[in-house]
Assembly symmetry: C2
């Protein structure tokens, strides 16, 4: 839809429009490369207008990444609640939800963990970013209480889950887990190894 010629001088909600446009461009290109000037062009404002709402491009990227972590936490929480089975089944459901999130939002996912914002403590150590991590911890604690998951420090186990899911997501996005090199369904196999490493031997 072309922008109307009677566009007012004041946009009204440019901050939200910039964020939404940038996220859309992110997943169009499946990578964290987009141009602030093109965002402004699509929003129908001058290339300088976004600077009234964000101090610079890095601030916009950080804001978007935090929104991504919110969405990831919601996806994991939904999968955890939807699976009213034992903790191991819930953990598997969360694993698939995590992978689906990455496949559905490739550019957003790469931005959340990419070098552009890597090591930024305001992002990765924020409560919003850790929210997704806490969902995994909660299910692992439940599994230990149920006797389905080995009695080990949950944070170490959560780290293993996160690393496995993060690696699987990125290798899939890179096209590295194709069937002919890695087996029939590499993702299923990898999740099985993870679950067997967490489950009690008598489980």
């Amino acid at each position: 839809m072309p922008p109307p010629d009677d566009r007012p001088y004041h946009h009204g909600d440019l901050r939200r429009t910039v964020i939404d446009t940038a996220i859309a461009m992110l997943d169009e290109r499946a990578g964290p490369q987009f141009t602030l000037r093109e965002v402004a062009r699509r929003a129908g404002v001058s290339h300088a207008a976004p600077y009234k709402h964000f101090p610079d491009k890095a601030a916009l990227l950080t804001e978007i990444a935090l929104i991504g972590f919110d969405r990831l936490r919601d996806a994991l929480r939904g999968a955890s609640l939807g699976a009213n089975a034992d903790a191991l089944a819930a953990l598997t459901a969360m694993g698939w939800a995590y992978l689906t999130f990455g496949q559905t939002n490739p550019g957003l996912y790469r931005l959340m963990f990419g070098a552009e914002l890597g090591g930024n403590p305001d992002l990765h150590l924020s409560d919003r970013a850790m929210g997704a991590f806490d969902e995994v911890i909660a299910v692992l604690e439940r599994g230990q209480a149920e006797g389905l998951i080995r009695a080990r420090p949950v944070r170490g186990q959560a780290g293993a889950c996160w690393a496995q899911l993060h690696g699987l997501t990125l290798l899939t996005l890179d096209g590295l887990l194709i069937a002919e090199k890695v087996g029939e369904c590499a993702i299923t196999a990898a999740l099985a190894v993870l679950v067997e490493g967490l489950a009690t031997r008598e489980g």
Copy 2:
């Protein structure tokens, strides 16, 4: 050291100098962002000179990433040969060698798997990129023959190893696996989960 004033008009080995300079800049910044013009500046040539050796920046990045995969394969092979113990010990040694490679070459590692070259079949599906993967497969096959690793399709197990190591490497580079959030030593814990998921129950 300043460039000598008697620098000849013809550089001599500009192709190799460009690659080496770019790799050095990559790991200085711990990210895959560097400028072709700055590479040329450091090499003491005009900004157009590199175009006589690489068609564009993407070709240089691909070349560098392939060199990175060569080095990663060498590191894994060295760890595998150095550990003349059982296959599980060799696998753990390879895991630590993988993580060390990422910590030592953060920018190079991110380039090898980053969005800049993501999904490029000439890179990730090349024999050079798959060489590192084959080292893991060899050790897993040995472990199955020794009865230390569960009899499952090795390619699925190798995918699980790779995903776990890739995820651990990147989360560590992002500063996400710090002790206070994730436990005393998240890496040790994650590798333990991986090994327990691969090892035979009677092992």
